[in-house]
């Protein structure tokens, strides 16, 4: 009950007064625990002009457990897995750093600022992080290519993240795996 009330409040807040450059919708009106977020690429970043889809999955015991947020649109970014899963590496979203008082709104805002300013020191994609650090021009070129290839038009939320169900543990795994590569 508690989480229902809180989620509906947060949803109302996010739909009435959406975070900058975002639009929130529910894929299924009767399920408040799954949100679809449409995020405009911030104009001051390499992702401007792109439109990205985000899955937000709130666990049953939200806000005590971390919400899971993944990109449904592929994105070339040091902190997002470069695959269909679209897992995000964000301090706020790590289970050991999650605070029940954090709102989804602030998480979404953090993701948006992650697009403006990637965090190459804590990467999921080590190669992209290197490129970001050492060859910024190449990185921006690649990011723009991805935007034109994947992030044009309205984002598709088809690829229901079956992998994301594995939870944020999966995020940690994939990051270590990728770093080993």
């Amino acid at each position: 009950m508690a989480s229902q009330k809180r989620i509906s409040k947060e949803l109302a807040d996010c739909t009435e007064n959406p975070p900058q450059g975002m639009r929130i919708s529910l894929p299924n009106d009767s399920d408040l625990h799954k949100w679809h977020v449409t995020l405009e690429g911030p104009s001051q970043s390499a992702y401007s002009g792109g439109t990205f889809g985000l899955f937000v999955t709130l666990p049953p015991d939200y806000p005590f457990k971390t919400p899971q947020i993944t990109f449904s649109t592929r994105i070339y970014h040091p902190n997002v897995t470069n695959d269909a899963t679209g897992s995000i590496c964000l301090g706020l979203l790590k289970p050991e750093q999650w605070k029940p008082a954090t709102r989804i709104r602030s998480v979404l805002e953090a993701i948006r600022s992650l697009l403006v300013e990637p965090n190459p020191d804590d990467p999921l994609e080590a190669r992209i992080a290197d490129e970001y650090k050492n060859d910024r021009k190449e990185f921006e070129k690649n990011a723009k290519t991805y935007v034109t290839r994947y992030a044009k038009g309205t984002p598709k939320f088809e690829a229901v993240p079956a992998a994301a169900a594995g939870g944020s543990d999966g995020v940690g795994d994939s990051s270590t795996g990728r770093r080993a590569n």
Binding site: M1, A2, S3, Q4, K5, R6, S8, K9, E10, D29, S30, D31, L32, P60, D61, Y62, P63, F64, K65, K99, P100, A101
Partner: protein
């Protein structure tokens, strides 16, 4: 809007009371095997204790024992405070950052001062023993406390009763009393001691027996609990609607009788005037026509009704007359005892007012008055009252007059006192000001004198010595040869009565300061003693330094 049966039902179950009003089952009761049929109409199908381990019988938590036979005592499900609806928007600062509802049993951390609902915080602490806002470590047993102010503010919030159908609004601290004791919609334990189900208080009559027994739906042969039959007919029953046999409208089946009796246009009903003997019976829509066309019995009915009304009015009037009679009798009785009183009062008054006139002179007048009053107003007031009344009035007015007189006197005294006070101050100020003006006058004449003398001096010096002083500030040396003239001038100015020669010698700013500092009396004192020496000194200085200028 939220789905009725979501998995997060597990939340309230942890160790706390079942915090759900829509819950239908009292979990701590011995459960009877029951067919799985959706229970109360609107809410979730019996979803009680979730699949969490907490569904195991809980330790006795002060709730009713299963054998309790008092149907109202503590058989009530606790209020879900987080689901309460508030009449006004609640300030953000009074809301728990975890559940985003106004605090319920607020606790404040002693380390960082953050406040949460007690259940929310404990839940969060179970996962991680840190503050859910700033992650400061928290020890459950030491670091938590309550804040009185927050509690008081919360108590004053206005909430709606959580029961469906009840529109009671109260402050939050009184909600529990309404909900637990008075609200008819509160779910209480079924009066049957063997039943675990809940039922609205208004339906739970001790003699009604258990309403959770199964019964068969008469239309669809489903097994339904008695308490839910109504809702079943309205919503679920597969054959819940039927065609009206008369008008072939689709009607909810168990409301058919009502429909036929009240609404159906094709059902045959008697004329409204059948109580007056109209034998006409027809379909409802035709009955209306019959009545419009003028049912003879309707006219008779009207007359009969009129007569009935008349009779009722007559009865009413009779009653009123009887009560008036009684009143008249009462006043008459009182009147019989009254006359002795006025004769004593006027007596005393007569001697008081008329002085020489005896009481015997006054009483006949009063009798006249009484007769006159009785003639004028033969009402139920009684004959003794007019003079009583007038005397009382007179007395009251007199006392009022006396009051007023006193008040005017007081005011007058007050006023003159104030006037005196004010004018005294003003007078003082005026004398002081005139004194100051005089002083200033003297100063100007004295200064003018100096100026004049200086001009003369310059003219004389220019003529005699041929020494030219172009500047406006003649040097001290230029004054030296004429020191004798200066002394004589000093003498003349002292004859003018200027007491402030000493001040006059200094710079103008200093002088004004010394003047304003002096009071009239002081100045007068100076006139007598210090005048000449100070003047002489001042002049000496005035010559030694720059001469004062206006």
């Amino acid at each position: 809007m939220p789905p009725p049966n979501t998995p997060e039902e597990g939340m309230p179950a942890q160790g706390s009371l079942p915090r759900r009003i829509s819950g239908e089952v009292f979990p701590e009761r011995t459960r009877r095997p029951r067919p799985r049929v959706p229970t109360p109409p609107t809410s979730a199908p019996a979803t009680v204790p979730p699949p969490a381990p907490s569904s195991v019988p809980r330790p006795p938590s002060g709730r009713a024992s299963p054998t309790s036979d008092d149907p109202n005592a503590d058989n009530i499900l606790a209020i879900d405070h987080q689901a309460l609806e508030y009449t006004d928007p609640v300030d953000e600062t009074l809301q728990c950052p975890i559940c985003r509802t106004p605090f319920y049993k607020p606790v404040t951390t002693k380390t960082c001062g953050h406040t949460f609902c007690s259940p929310c915080l404990h839940r969060a602490l179970e996962l991680q023993p840190v503050c859910p806002i700033d992650r400061q470590p928290i020890d459950k047993s030491r670091d938590l406390g309550q804040t009185r102010v927050i509690l008081d503010q919360l108590d004053r919030l206005k909430v709606k009763c959580p029961n469906k159908g009840c529109d009671h609004i109260s402050s939050r601290d009184r909600l529990a009393a309404h909900y637990e004791r008075y609200c008819d919609y509160t779910l209480v334990r079924c009066p049957d001691a063997n039943c675990t189900m809940a039922i609205a208080r208004m339906d739970a009559k001790p003699d009604a027996g258990c309403l959770h027994k199964d019964s068969e739906c008469q239309y669809c042969n489903k097994t339904v609990v008695i308490a839910d039959l109504e809702a079943h007919y309205d919503n679920d029953c597969s054959g819940h609607t039927a065609k009206c046999p008369h008008c072939s409208a689709i009607v909810v089946r168990h409301r058919m009788e009502k429909h036929i009796a009240n609404d159906c246009p094709e059902a045959e009903i008697p004329c409204k005037s059948h109580t007056y003997g109209c034998p006409f019976r027809n379909k409802r829509r035709l009955i209306e026509q019959h009545e419009q066309n003028g049912c003879i019995h309707a006219t008779i009915g009207k007359l009969a009704m009129g007569r009935l009304e008349d009779r009722m009015m007559i009865n009413d009037l009779k009653n009123r007359i009887a009560s008036l009679d009684a009143r008249v009798r009462r006043t008459e009785q009182r009147q019989a005892t009254v006359p002795s009183i006025p004769s004593t009062i006027p007596g005393s008054r007569a001697s008081f007012v008329a002085g020489g006139n005896g009481a015997s002179d006054f009483i006949p007048d009063l009798d006249d008055l009484r007769a006159g009053a009785a003639g004028m107003a033969p009402g139920p007031a009684g004959a003794g009252s007019p003079e009583d009344y007038m005397l009382a009035q007179f007395e009251r007015m007199e006392s009022q007059m006396e009051d007023l007189r006193k008040m005017v006197r007081d005011m007058d005294g007050h006023h003159s006192m104030r006037l005196l006070n004010d004018t005294m101050v003003l007078n003082d100020q005026i004398t002081e000001l005139t004194g100051k003006v005089n002083v200033l006058n003297m100063h100007t004449t004295w200064l003018m004198g100096i100026q004049r003398r200086e001009l003369q001096m310059r003219a004389a010096g220019g003529a005699a010595g041929g020494e030219a002083h172009g500047g406006p500030r003649p040097g001290p040396s230029s004054a030296n040869p004429n020191s004798g003239g200066g002394v004589s001038l000093a003498g003349s100015s002292s004859a003018d009565g200027s007491g402030n020669g000493g001040g006059g010698g200094h710079s103008s700013r200093e002088r004004s300061g010394s003047i304003s500092g002096l009071s009239v009396s002081q100045r007068q004192h100076q006139h007598g003693e210090g005048m000449v020496p100070s003047l002489g000194m001042g002049l000496g200085q005035g010559r030694g330094e720059n001469p004062p200028r206006l």
